[in-house]
């Protein structure tokens, strides 16, 4: 996929091979733009984006599937909770727009329980802390992904753009564990973005390292981010 946005010229080519893939790179490297292109919020200048058997974008064939019709569910850097709906309404907002499973509400309840959102269910977004909003936004995307299709064979790609960045380390670690369990249980592939080394290692995911709009390396986190980890440990005096 090639795309130019501002001073950044993107030219990336990668495939998701593992259940959870992390796009890792410094700020301004183009990670978010890649995610937005996969979600359908950005039309790349050229290239091809496909998921499972579906082509989302193909510049040569002039294919561009609009965001709402892609088998993709997203949670962004900003929580973007709908301000006129309480936490519960936000979380069930994305339930089954393709086909509504009978147990969709049960799933929403379970996700809320595991992400400790039960006590907040009737609160409005303006009454939540930044971290609570982030957690709600992740829960909303997760519930929407789980309830994507009733036949339970087709699964959407869950795109998470640094949704845990505003959380304290303890909550983040807990969220990562819960998210990994939920996505593994429902076989939902995840592509997340982070510039947080700790998060990348905790996820034990496949890492696609991006710098200046190019894929530098792809592989298991231990291989791809060894250099960064050594540098961090040196800084810490380890």
């Amino acid at each position: 996929m090639q795309h130019r946005v501002g001073a950044v010229s993107l030219d990336v080519n990668f495939a998701l091979t593992q259940p959870w893939t992390v796009l890792f790179g410094p700020s301004g490297s183009g990670k978010t733009t890649v995610l937005r292109a996969i979600a359908g919020f950005v039309r790349p200048d050229a290239g091809r984006i496909e998921f499972a058997t579906e082509v989302f974008f193909d510049s040569s064939a002039r294919v561009f599937v609009p965001a709402h019709r892609r088998a993709v569910r997203t949670a962004g850097q900003m929580a973007r909770l709908f301000p006129h709906m309480n936490v519960m309404s936000n979380i069930i907002f994305g339930i089954g727009w393709n086909s509504k499973p009978h147990d969709a509400r049960d799933i929403a309840e379970q996700v809320m329980e595991s992400l400790h959102l039960n006590d907040l269910r009737n609160r409005m977004p303006r009454d939540l802390s930044g971290g609570e909003r982030q957690r709600t936004a992740v829960a909303r995307a997760l519930v929407s992904a789980i309830t994507f299709n009733f036949n339970r064979t087709e699964r959407p790609l869950l795109l998470l753009d640094e949704p845990l960045s505003g959380l304290d380390v303890g909550t983040r670690d807990e969220m990562v564990i819960e998210l990994k369990q939920w996505t593994a249980r429902w076989k939902i592939p995840v592509l997340s973005v982070t510039h947080d080394l700790g998060e990348a290692f905790q996820l034990e995911a496949e890492v696609v390292k991006i710098a200046d709009g190019r894929v530098v390396k792809q592989g298991p986190v231990d291989e791809v981010l060894t250099e960064e980890r050594s540098r961090l440990l040196k800084q810490l005096g380890g």
Binding site: A39, F41, A67, T74, F82, P83, H84, F93, W97, R126
Partner: protein
Amino acid sequence: MDIQALWLTLRLAASTTAILLVIALPLAWWIASGRGVARALVQAVVALPLVLPPTVLGFYLLVAMGPLTAPGRLLMRVFGHPLAFSFEGLLVGSVLYSLPFAVQPLVAGFKAVDAGYVEAAEGLGVRPFAVFLSVVLPLARASLLTSAVLTFTHTVGEFGVVLMLGGNIPGATRTLSISLYDQVQDFNYAAANRTALLLLAISLAALLVIYLVPGLRRVDGRQADIVQ
């Protein structure tokens, strides 16, 4: 007090507001959701009644609705009578004359809704029409109220178009503002005073509705997602 004129005026204003909201909602959403020459042109045409003398609009409508034009002949066939000098004709004129008052607050309201909410909804697989109904419209509801109130009030107060297009037929086209004009012409200043006061009260009450409902603005898209 000309009760017949009051009833006619309220009926005209309510009908105009209802029709205009149906037209203005999709039109304003289309204008607000992009740029380009076509949108600029439509916006200019929509805004024309703001700067055009009402008599000019009334004159053109009078001609267009008459038997000399094809649309006029078609309307005559549909309604069975000429639209000019009838309530239906007045309604057409009011809809066109109040169009900017319905469309412009909505365009401003829709543009103020953070596009991030639309993306968030689309990223959950929600279709654009459902996004509009369940996200955009509730976030722009203060603008919807403003649009409805301004349209209603502006229709209550219109004079030039009504006079050109409707004449002065009691029960059919004589609105409050025409009635006031008649009362002054007849030197019936006591009645004119009452009519003028009523029009003033309607306008003031309508504007108070807009300024007295801050609760509507609290969840407006402009202020949403602010970390407290």
